[in-house]
Symmetry: C2
Subunit: 804 residues, 2 copies
């Protein structure tokens, strides 16, 4: 590990240490000061912020790493992305991005002088200022680090298909206790050195969390090293607390890691990859709150959990604490670091890389160096032939798989699309992608597996966290992708969806941030058709989660069939800055719309399916906008594939038995057309809403998700209490598809009964239909084991006008 | 590893193998057959189920382990709990529970004869029958295994404070890829052999998931062993496919593991625990679909992903497949396993343990051998003095910490309560527990940590998955506990909450399942007061998730202050079979109710706070129920601590400026009193609802969660559109508490303006109040950095009647 140690002169070490001092100084200054940024006068309580916020404990380590990555970049010209797992060490990263000059370029008011320094310290963790974490506001960041666990997955995704990129990923020993992070260590099994970039994890052990020790922090170097080695890494250990010694040792470790990375890559690129590479990983052990107060009021602080946030909390009240703070800050010798104007002295400025090699200015952290859109092949090429609506069945997701296959082909020489899925690509009927690519896996043993190779670009790992985390890293660096998952298990990574939406919501407000491709989540193997897997597999909860997120970033699509799915997929794959849920089952379902009709329906978000109702020829769409539309006796609305089938069958029953009844069927494909426009930008104008749903008719709704969650969409619309919603009500077991709609009271028979219950006035045939529905439900109940649902009487219907 | 190998005679091996054959036979029979259970006649398609469901691939391995655990129990008298991570291998577990006799005792219709066998095979994965996973319907199960990742955490929680219990936990190599499972391997750092039971993980590698290889499955024995060793386990490896050899080797490994466990425990119990124990863990490598069809149609099946579910899928169509199925089933020689009546032959019956030692009959899997309730100390002892409502402030969660401290003390000699928290016990103001116990950690190094020891019973680990998974295991084996977490990060384990609720929902319908203590989740450090940590820490989403779950198991409480929190905590800690969310912030907040009033308020779930409004003395509660209550001009409703404070301040403003206006304040503490009773059993009767909220007055609601999610609660109530709801709208950053309520438009000023906007008629003072509110909001907006919220004018109010 000492091969290049001699290359660092004492002078360079001294410079590196001074640069690090500058970063540490600015970190402390951000946490404490609102004036007197450079301590040009004696410190008084007037200089102290009214509220002290920030995480000092992890910051010196983050800065040490930053300083040495700067050096590596300077020496090698490498493109490096810095992922700060302990993103709550925000002031350290902001300090470094400021010192390298990027911050002032992006935020010119935070200039490289005393006035800028004053702004820098005052804005931190201040109302109206900048957040304390490395959020989207921090240049160079793709990872906020607030909810711990995803740093290494994000880093791994960022490295995929970025062959020249090095992602330095700092993992705190707190974060290392989380599940998603623990799973992320298996990255070497999935990163191909011949075509992917490198991740250099830096496991930063400082021993403590908020108030307790960490598991890894209490283990010996050899134990921690064994843990990384067992997962395929080559661990390099740097441990200590003497700054100059640590600079030398960390520089040597980083150089060794870099050399190993380039050797691995060169080998793989010249001779092909064989088996997983043993990538280097650095274990860095430093005291928590390093260089901060050793003791406060006689109690040890440095090296303990007490250094986690603000180690001297009483500076406004205690003169002794204030004096200790001043002494601490002056120990960095700020007068030697910044010139009279407040600018970093030239010999330190010279240590930072230039231009886009600065980590704060990395194009990889801002939408990627290549911001080309993904151009999809024409979706018409994948359309299914439908004919009479409902007369043909297809596995709805299969054409999407064919589309994705050609996306893979089209991007083969400029790879920027990947599909991520927990081992369900075939199960989800997307297996056409395997005609042109494989599952990625570096382990080469052949043992009955199919379509598996180091060159594959389908990412299958049985972890929703890894699938989504990898994809997020891939997207945030400017590439495109899709996460396809069993609907119920999308809840496993629901918190990641929340956090990513929060990131996008703030990122899109920053003019300097380039839009990134959307996070697209395909929820398939849905609750209604997980009858075979049972109750644990039935849960449409991610929709609930999405509905509460900001309308500026969240979209929820429920295409009723294959062609509408293609239209929706085209939109979401070409979109940017959104979290798009696509909810559709994979099984064989009736198909309704031609590709042309699908495109129109998808564009409108919701429309009347005239062919499914029996209103007169003067249908609303034929009218002048200001003309009063004819109003049906009842509206049947549906959203989602199974609810659509049940609704159409209910409409058919109503028309067959009660021909005098005027029935309208509305299909909602874009769920967020429903709320008022001030809630969601897709919200229909009020007149458009009433044109679909009338202003006062009862509406029987069948929709895919949890029944009552629908009502939050309707508040603010005229007479929301007239909407009678059926959906999933947490009823299910291992049973049949038809029993699923029965036990959740969303079957065609339930919908027809509800409709009859809601219309006023006498209609011939109504009693007969009631009797029919009740009889069929009894029959189902009494003979469920005999799979009576296979009877044509229950199961089959083909759309033909009732009088045909 | 061969120390006791000689003890197994060839005769015993043969018997073990025949018992295993019986289990495998019944597994295949459940998957395929509806008649001819014992193949007493030639197999025909009439005997085949209409739909073939089930997971064969993992089943033979699960049965092998079961058979040998039976042997271990027989030899040692050990109490063993079987946790099947691959719970989708349900038919294997059901077969074993049937063979040991438990199944027929619990479900007498599934008797130990041909008639019972017919029922056994017909019910499996059949509508109206039993699910395909080891759900609550399966005796001996505490873990369904549908959503993968939690087996080892459940097993670890089950072992805590159960000193004599051995939890055998089968982990599939698919599940091993998940984050939660990867994090669970650190159990040795937290299990104390002196007082806890033992977990014996059995990592069952069969190499494949649904359609691809597993990461661990492709690694060498030494690599996998190194991974477990690095995390503190002593790995024992059993690998092969020759049944008799495997029986011998697995028996030896299990015996060695058992001996090591008992040695570790004896050592610790006699001499005290020092450092983490190196517990044994077994790595079992067997072919996927072992003993099933080697090839089908010339394609390899056994040992590949193709054996995952139903390896011969075409038996109804293909005579060749049917013949192959028959040959496969007959290879187990059923005629030698079951007697003429259909009962397992006596020499095999003799292999199973007896009574409650049978794993299917384990009391640990059914509410625990000790079903004593947790009796809390009188909550009055922890009550805070309130005085005039709003005049005093307390950190609301601190008294709860004192209550929990005494629960720890009271159960010290019969430990059956633990607190689980991701390193935030102190931060969440529950630190009083450290007066009587410590954080549990086996690593003994002292390095500035406080209140950490192997004897501690506060479980802190920076993983919501582990906290919740351990707690679930602890609860399902009959003990009590609380998971305290930052509100936003409760979403990390939201899917576990869903799955646990699903488990309870089905378990409570089984008369033989004893109720288990409720899963209690304290959501604190809430969105409204995570102003300092910023946007990523602000998310009340778990409430949304809970609202869609079954009303039979889910409860959501929002106590407005410390005394109501005590009342709610008493209820939830003493309750069973629920998932209870307690939502309350930890910071210093105004206090309102005396402990007596708190108890009354908690019992009612929602009530009018007469002292906060200005209705006449003829208030509703003084009236006869059939008397028409007086109706206020406006109702202000609130749920949650911060919303309550803002609402009270708004009510105060309204009364000070607009004394003619009649204002009612309703506080909702039990959120689920709001929906109609057919949605939730706590739902108020309609007349009780209108007594609180009137039938037609406008209601300005301020509540803790996502604003619009509230509306799903109100559907079905009279005129739901008159409820105007403010709540969290995904607005926030690092800012001040007051700015949080401003940017989410829930401040006292917003609420007062909304109220004025909704009342009809002219009121003196209204214009003046509007001006005041707008001025204060402008002031805040213009001077946010100066923390104007500290001005008494904005921040302070003490409840005194406006004319006092």
């Amino acid at each position: 590990m000492n091969a290049s140690f001699a290359e660092i002169t004492p002078e360079e070490l001294e410079l590196l240490n001074r640069y690090w001092n500058a970063a540490n100084y600015l970190t402390v200054a951000q946490i404490y000061l609102q004036e007197n940024a450079l301590l040009r006068e004696p410190l008084t309580t007037d200089h102290i912020k009214p509220r002290l916020l920030g995480h000092w404990g992890t910051s010196p380590g983050l800065s040490l790493i930053y300083v040495h990555l700067n050096r590596l970049i300077q020496r090698t010209g490498a493109q490096v992305l810095y992922v700060a797992g302990p993103g709550h060490g925000g002031p350290a990263i902001v300090a470094n991005v400021y010192l390298e000059g990027t911050y002032s370029e992006i935020y010119p008011e935070v200039s490289k002088d005393s006035a800028g320094l004053r702004r820098l310290i005052r804005q931190f963790s201040t109302p109206g200022g900048i957040p304390s974490h490395v959020g989207p506001q921090t240049p160079g960041s793709i990872h906020e680090g607030g909810e711990l666990g995803y740093s290494l997955a994000h880093a791994t995704g960022a490295a995929m298909d970025n062959p020249d990129l090095i992602v330095a990923c700092v993992v705190g020993d707190g974060e290392a206790e989380t599940g998603p992070l623990a799973a992320s260590w298996k990255a070497p099994a999935f990163l191909n050195p011949a075509r992917d970039g490198a991740v250099i994890p830096i496991l930063h052990l400082n021993g403590h969390k908020i108030s307790g020790p960490t598991v890894l922090g209490r283990q010996s170097d050899s134990e921690v090293a064994a843990l990384l080695a067992a997962q395929g890494w080559n661990p390099l250990i740097v441990s200590g607390h003497e700054p100059l010694v640590m600079h030398a040792e960390f520089a040597a470790a980083l150089e060794q890691a870099y050399t190993e990375v380039r050797t691995i890559q060169q080998q793989a690129r010249e001779h092909g990859a064989s088996g997983p590479a043993r990538w280097p990983a650095i274990i860095l052990r430093t005291p928590k709150g390093w260089t901060g107060p050793a003791t406060v009021d006689g109690v040890q602080v440095e090296g303990t959990f007490r250094a986690h946030q603000v180690p001297l909390a009483g500076v406004r009240e205690s003169p002794a604490h204030l004096a200790q703070l001043e002494a601490w800050m002056r120990s960095y010798e700020p007068e030697t670091l910044f010139d009279r104007s407040g600018r970093l002295v030239p010999e330190l400025e010279a240590l930072a890389p230039r231009g886009s090699l600065r980590m704060g200015a990395s194009p990889f952290a801002n939408g990627g160096p290549d911001v080309a859109d993904l151009i999809l092949p024409p979706i018409d090429d994948y359309a299914v032939h439908v004919g009479i609506p409902g007369s043909t069945k297809h596995e709805t997701t299969r054409p999407l798989g064919e589309l994705l296959r050609d996306v893979y082909s089209d991007t083969a020489t400029d790879p920027r699309f990947r599909l991520f899925c927990p081992d369900e690509t075939n199960s989800n009927r997307l297996g056409a992608v395997f005609e042109v690519t494989d599952r990625a896996l570096m382990e080469t043993a052949q043992d009955g597996g199919e379509k598996i190779s180091p060159d594959g670009r389908v990412m299958e790992v049985l972890s929703e966290h890894l699938c989504q985390g990898w994809l997020e890293g891939y997207l945030l660096t400017g590439r495109h992708g899709l996460f396809a998952t069993y609907e119920a298990f999308a809840m496993v990574s629901a918190s990641m969806t929340v956090q990513h939406a929060k990131w996008l919501q703030h990122a899109r407000e920053l003019p300097w941030r380039r839009p990134v491709p959307s996070l697209n989540i395909l929820l398939t193997s849905t609750c209604w058709r997980n009858d075979h897997n049972g109750f644990s597999h039935q849960g449409p909860g991610l929709i609930d989660t999405a509905l509460s997120l900001s309308g500026s970033v969240v979209r929820v699509y429920l295409p009723p069939d294959a062609n509408t799915l293609l239209a929706a997929a085209q939109h979401v794959l070409e979109s940017r800055n959104y979290v798009n849920l696509l909810v559709v089952d994979k099984q064989s379902h009736p198909q309704y719309l031609s590709i042309e009709a699908a495109r129109v329906h998808a564009a409108s978000g919701a429309s009347i399916w005239e062919w499914a109702g029996n209103e007169t020829a003067s249908a609303p769409t034929d009218q002048q906008p200001d003309e009063e539309p004819a109003e049906p006796d009842i509206v049947l609305a549906c959203a989602g594939d199974v609810p659509t089938e049940e609704t159409l069958a209910a409409a058919w029953l109503l028309q067959r038995y009660v021909p005098e009844l005027s029935v309208r069927v509305v299909n909602v494909m874009d769920l967020l057309v429903l709320p008022p426009r001030d809630v969601h930008p897709h919200g229909l104008a009020n007149d458009a809403f009433t044109r679909l749903f009338t202003s006062d008719r009862h509406v029987v709704v069948a929709w895919h998700g949890y029944a009552r969650a629908f009502h939050q969409l309707l508040h603010g619309r005229p007479s929301p209490e007239r909407f009678h919603v059926r959906g999933y009500t947490e009823q299910g077991t291992t049973t049949t598809p038809f029993d699923m709609v029965v036990v959740n009271r969303m079957s065609r028979f339930h919908l027809a009964l509800e409709a009859l219950h809601r219309v006023s006035g006498h209609f011939d045939g109504a009693a007969s239909l009631v009797e029919h529905c009740e009889r069929m439900l009894r029959l189902h109940h009494d003979h469920i084991r005999e799979h009576l649902e296979d009877l044509p009487e229950i199961r089959d219907w083909v759309w033909t006008p009732p009088d045909a």
